[in-house]
Symmetry: C2
Subunit: 304 residues, 2 copies
């Protein structure tokens, strides 16, 4: 159940909690944000928004819950079943309620529940594709989304939260325009992180595809250079953390929803995703736990 | 499964979707927010923050997921089992994964899932009480929280979403200070809504307690005047919507977490909760679907 955290990662988490920057929730990998974290979070989120505003994206915000049917169509269950969160509810009457309360006292209440048509949203851009479906306009479309995401991987590493926010810019267009968008953002996002005083390394990466078949998918993704990550020191120097990822999806998310390029050709998509909590944690790790003492240039960029 | 929407409510939802203010998600009561809604949402949220800033609350933000154990201790399952959302996950290996994919094709994947230690957060203030536990300082404590909330009540009324945001100010102190806090905010929140050009009526109310026993709890809550709501016309004039609620909790949320008042007496709590989506919807209903044409006074208050 989730990777084991190193001593450095544990110590970083403890220092954040001791300073009141984060609070523990009783569940691994789920934290509350204290005042200093909230202020930094809002600033980083605004910094990301402003960095993409000149491109005039369409702005959408989607809830933390997502259609099970669309998740299945997106092939998420095929690739990452272990990370998904399904939402179950209670449909009974008074008698079942009495049983529910008996079972819940023993923390074994699942028997009284049934699956709903909802899951937790695993990535900020998923709701876009079912919304877009059909033929794209010339030049494709560009979106700005901020999403409340969930991945079931309980960890003691504060940089690996189960519940977190992704701020993404997403392009849907032709294969060429999607690849160009992704490549452009590899450079732009590196400059953005440098502007915040964060040292990052860009590297080819792969998603954590599940199981035996998954290791082949991961190798193929890396070989075809579909995913790049910006890595920074957050909770451990030995195990740097991906704080930004730049992804070329081919037609994996457009084909299932019947999206075609202008003129009827194949639509592809690409996104750049900023892990807001992870960038904030990288700032705390690099510049210290008191934002008042962060470098002037970083503070200026973040309107602090 | 959730109340039936009136024709007026259906028509209001359709007009919002047609204007691109909201987008449908494939699931009842779950919407995406388009550009105009996002801008109004951020403005209303800031308006709420600024209205309470002078009281210097401690600012916390908590994720959309919450400890099952704490939800049980809060008695939520006793009072509102039908509204809860439990998070289930997949713990299997390759063989179970193959079965999962077979079942998921028929949208019946629940058999392969097990309950996690997480539920969806049903109200923004719930994570505060387990965090506070122990003896309060003199004068109690005051919090500002914005939460991503979930209640399983699929409805076609856009004012009754399954996933929504509450912005709350929460006081934990003595019985006297809690009641005074709640009463103060009944007046303050009415003036705030008037400043936005919204006509509201304050009325004693009760939560939708479940089942036979629940109707007695609801009657008692109303008789003891523990809950007041500000009602506005959103999707229907006949069925106004609660856009703000002012609640005196007695010791329901403090006693389960061992919170005591300064000096060791009984701690009570109270909160004012602003339903951000509902306030935004009330603004669209009252002032029209184009924020550029809202009254000057409303626009000024919202920095639009």
């Amino acid at each position: 159940m989730g990777p084991v955290a190193s001593e450095g990662q544990l110590a970083f988490g403890d220092s954040l909690v001791a300073a009141g920057v984060l609070t523990r929730s009783g569940v691994k990998g789920v934290y509350g944000m204290g005042t200093a974290f909230v202020a930094a979070f809002e600033s980083v989120d605004r910094f990301v928004t402003e960095s993409g505003r000149g491109d005039q994206p369409e702005v959408y915000r989607f809830p933390a819950v997502f259609s099970l049917e669309y998740l299945i169509r997106s092939e998420f269950l095929r690739s990452f079943p272990n990370l998904a969160g399904s939402i179950h509810g209670f449909d009974g009457g008074d008698a079942e309620h009495a049983a529910l309360l008996r079972d819940a006292d023993g923390l074994d209440w699942a028997a009284q529940l049934t699956a709903t048509d909802l899951v937790l949203l695993p990535a900020a851009c998923y709701p876009i594709y079912p919304m877009v479906s059909g033929e794209l306009p010339e030049g494709g479309r560009l979106f700005d989304v901020l999403g409340t995401c969930f991945r079931h991987e309980p960890s003691d590493d504060p940089a690996r939260m189960q519940a977190f926010h992704q701020h993404e810019f997403v392009h849907i267009g032709t294969p060429e325009s999607s690849l160009a968008f992704r490549d452009d953002w590899i450079g732009r996002s590196q400059r953005m992180m440098a502007d915040l005083g964060l040292e990052v390394v860009a590297d080819a990466a792969n998603d954590p595809f599940f199981g035996r078949a998954g290791s082949m998918l991961a190798a193929s993704q890396r070989e075809r250079a579909l995913k790049f990550e910006l890595l920074a020191t957050v909770s451990s120097e030995e195990q740097p953390t991906a704080i930004v990822s730049c992804n070329y999806h081919l037609d994996h998310l457009t084909a299932p929803f019947g999206i075609s390029a202008s003129g009827g050709g194949t639509a592809h998509s690409a996104c750049v995703g900023f892990g807001i909590e992870r960038i904030v944690l990288a700032l705390f790790a690099e510049h210290g736990l008191e934002p008042d003492h962060w470098p002037n240039e970083t503070r200026k960029r973040l309107w602090l």
